[in-house]
Symmetry: C2
Subunit: 535 residues, 2 copies
């Protein structure tokens, strides 16, 4: 597991120290009136999150090793169907002795040494660059990157209900992602179904680059779409082909077709992204009981095997290509076969997947997800389960962390806001905590004495503005006030908030010539017929 | 920290092993048709929960030691106001050289040796007995005990809205607690405001003993009420005074009057419960920024000092008396001064309190709590935060875990059901997980092959009925089905569920003579004027 984090990346510890210095510096400025008080501010930089918690483990190390070993056996004895001939050619050419290929069946078995070599060259982390240094994201170690709902065909809000997603819906979610610091990258959000699939990628990528400086996402729907997407990122960022290939600037998701299949667009995507040195979230679609064994350890074996197969193809294409370990293992409802998310099994699989990713030595991606059909108690308890599995499991990347509903079929505007509130609270929780002599507050207790209160003390007054996280969505008024104010429930408050954010939204500055070049590119490629998706 | 767990108590590991044996045994019976298959069932005994997770830590061990040390300094230099003269007499008599008492101020400073002695005699755990062996609960180690909302003056449901609690509301919550296995004890639930405070304890205690075999709760509202409550437990359980004193049969909550005060009923309660060998949840009321310092470490120092003061009084009364470390540290909203629950600060304080309780070597009590005014998204994300703080922090007892609303001012019937669903999911998550060769499912993957599905395989068919937790409240139907079924949201579903449970409720068997003796006792004490609360 080579460490390819560039010199601009800092260890969690270095980050923490720098943050403390910065907070102290800012604290000094604000408290000029009381010159002897230098307080670290609690104020959190949500753009750069470092998780201070040790990851929770659900299996012992020997059980994790047993899952890894069984996955190697699966690759060795059962193998994978690989539907793209070019992928089989790559394996034949570069791993001759370590693979056993059946071209008619498009099937390949993988030797253990080959997997070990891929693990050895896979980087432990990297920086995915945005349009500005502030929006660049660090993947790996204790760093945390959050992303909104991805791939939902529908959109919903309290006003319009559920309906097919449009380009404008997709733009609105991009605007929310640009607005909130806990959204660290742009993502596939909802499908712009009002745009033909040959041109959709052009419009969506342009919108990401125009409305946001956060790192963009491009789908792997064939070589043409990927090439278009990468070219647009180069244009917007003003990068040469060489500079683009030298560092991550755009990312994608690769899903296996579980069990034990990788289809043509996904294999093409692994190879295209590896060739350009751009990161992939390599995520088996292992729903336990349907596309994977009904036991969680069995589903994890299959997830791990499918991940390792993709990793091999990536590393054979370009050793050192950035690959993030994706987990999506959850269970189905055994009565109906419907997928379920935010379940106890889902949390357990998440904790275990974090352990497996750390065994391999690559960053780990988990998900915030739920099965619920509306933004009610169920939606939140399912999402919280998933979010805690990701947070205390130590996930480096959390997909679908804002706005996901109905097992991913719908992006909800109100759910998005609820999730942002929950994410900010998680961000607060994972901060390193201040702890000095003053924090232990002996003098404050002496000042107040038995039976007093701390509201007006100097110790409190120096800190009360920044002592605690203040939620933007929660209503902490008492029952009478709340009733007098109309007994407004959380979704209705969220509805007012996202509308306000969209009303106030101003896109970030973009170089005029870059903007024109982007528009020219889209116009030209549209005139050329775009790029129909590979199936 | 003496280990007073009786020989009937088992270590978590022993429990786990016994549970596995039991599951295997039952599994054998059920699968008689396929004689070679011996599957451990996933079915969880919610009555006996053992948390399989290592507790999450928020501070390093040296910081926890620093909090402990500062708390000793607080007790030594600042001391506590103790408003009951008998408590000061106890300290003077039994800890002469180690205390400094000011009788006029009703104030006491505590030497470090005295605190160390109390820590040394406090038990690490115990069994709190119910009316049957099945309803007895183990406190300490990795054992988990959950309790419903306590002390709420109001009740609410979707039909009747919010209103003052009555005896029948209190009985209804007792019925729900008896019904659900994840409710391990009876608790103070809502106040029966339709009964005069001189008689309320008689009616409430009788109802607990008649409607439930789970361990009962008695408030510390003066010596008379406590004596009545304990006598009623002895009557219902058929215990001599000596047998009652020999093991825990009833518990209570002791709250300090933060900062640094213990009032008369609370001190009397500590002494009464210790004298009878019955457990207390000793819980400082340290809301950071109001009754405790605005810093979480400072609030924890004060919490810890107040706990240790109570522990000293308990252990001086009777060395080895069972005392559970209670934490309630959360923050206030600094704009309004209103208490807030389920906040990031609340979770951090919970994790730290678990560490402090383990340092002392006694069981730890945390809370499920929220600030919300209705059973919406906010209520659930706040409660989930508190619940995860308790669960992954390793809490042995979680108060207010079902039905708590509005910072504890209201018990909600629908919230109760939502919380039960969340608790069952937590119970599932904390189970030890099956992991054998079959679970790794290599043969199942071979059977299914690339691109198949697992629905009909033998591996799935053998397990599908018990593989996954099945929620009773969540609606996992798809959006169209859900809409056709009336788009029923979670609180409405919960409303139907609690009504059904109450309709079907049958009280457990109670010996007729015990029932008559209980009724006679209540009649006699009522005729005598009951026991007005000590203030």
């Amino acid at each position: 597991m080579a460490d390819l984090i560039s010199s601009t990346d800092r260890s969690p510890r270095a980050d923490e120290k720098a943050g403390m210095r910065e907070r102290r510096r800012r604290g000094r400025g604000r408290n000029r009136a009381s010159a002897d008080i230098v307080r670290p501010e609690r104020k959190v930089d949500y753009r750069r999150l470092v998780n201070s918690f040790e990851p929770v483990r659900v299996y012992s190390d020997d059980r994790i090793a047993a899952i890894h070993d069984m996955a190697l056996k699966v690759l060795e004895e059962l193998g994978m169907r690989l539907l793209l001939p070019e992928a089989l050619d790559l394996l034949r050419t570069r791993a001759r002795d370590d693979v056993s290929i059946d071209d008619d069946a498009r099937h390949c078995r993988f030797g253990r040494d080959l997997v070990a070599e891929a693990i050895a060259t896979a980087p432990a982390g990297w920086t995915l660059h945005g349009g500005t240094p502030e929006t660049s994201t660090v993947w790996g170690g204790r760093h945390v990157v959050w992303c909104a709902v991805g791939g939902a065909p529908h959109i919903s809000d309290l006003d319009g209900g559920k309906r097919p997603g449009t380009m404008e819906d997709s733009r609105n979610i991009m605007r929310l992602c640009e607005h909130y610091d806990v959204m660290h990258v742009q993502g596939p959000n909802v499908e712009a179904q009002d745009i033909d699939t040959a041109f959709r990628h052009l419009e969506v990528t342009r919108a990401q680059l125009v409305l946001s400086t956060k790192p963009p996402f491009v789908y792997c729907r064939g070589k043409g779409q990927v090439a278009d997407g990468m070219e647009m990122v180069r244009i917007a960022r003003g990068l040469s082909e060489e500079a683009f290939r030298a560092a991550p600037h755009v990312y994608t998701v690769i899903n296996t077709n579980s069990p034990l299949v990788l289809d043509r667009p996904m294999l093409q995507g692994i190879m295209d992204f590896a060739e350009h040195g751009q990161p992939i979230l390599l995520t088996p679609f292992t729903l336990s009981g349907a596309m994977a064994p009904v036991t969680i350890p069995g589903a994890l074996v299959q997830q791990h095997a499918e991940f390792l197969a993709g990793l091999v193809i990536s590393q054979l294409t370009r050793p050192g290509a950035p690959v993030c370990y994706g987990c999506f293992t959850s269970n189905v409802a055994m009565r109906s076969g419907a997928p379920a998310f935010g379940t106890p099994e889902n949390v357990r699989a998440a904790f275990a997947s974090g352990q497996l990713a750390r065994l391999v030595g690559v960053p780990w991606r988990s998900s915030g997800s739920c099965t619920a059909n509306c933004v009610d108690a169920q939606a939140v308890y399912e999402t919280q389960m998933a979010l805690w599995g990701a947070t205390l499991g130590g996930a480096n990347f959390v997909a679908h962390a804002a706005g996901w509903m109905e097992g991913g079929l719908t992006g909800s505007m109100e759910k998005f806001i609820v999730d942002i509130e929950m994410l900010q609270q998680m961000a607060e929780l994972m901060q390193p905590v201040a702890f000095d002599e003053d924090d232990l507050a002996f003098e404050a207790m002496r000042d107040v004495g038995s039976g007093g209160h701390f509201f007006g003390t100097q110790h409190t007054m120096e800190r009360y503005e920044t002592a605690f996280y203040e939620p933007f969505l929660s209503d902490w008024s008492n029952f009478n006030q709340w009733t007098e104010n109309g007994a407004v429930q959380t979704p209705e408050r969220a509805n007012a908030i996202w509308k306000q954010v969209l009303r106030d939204f101003e896109p970030p500055a973009l170089d005029e010539s870059a903007r024109e070049a982007l528009d020219d590119f889209v116009a030209r490629r549209t005139a050329e017929g775009g790029a129909p998706p590979l199936t």
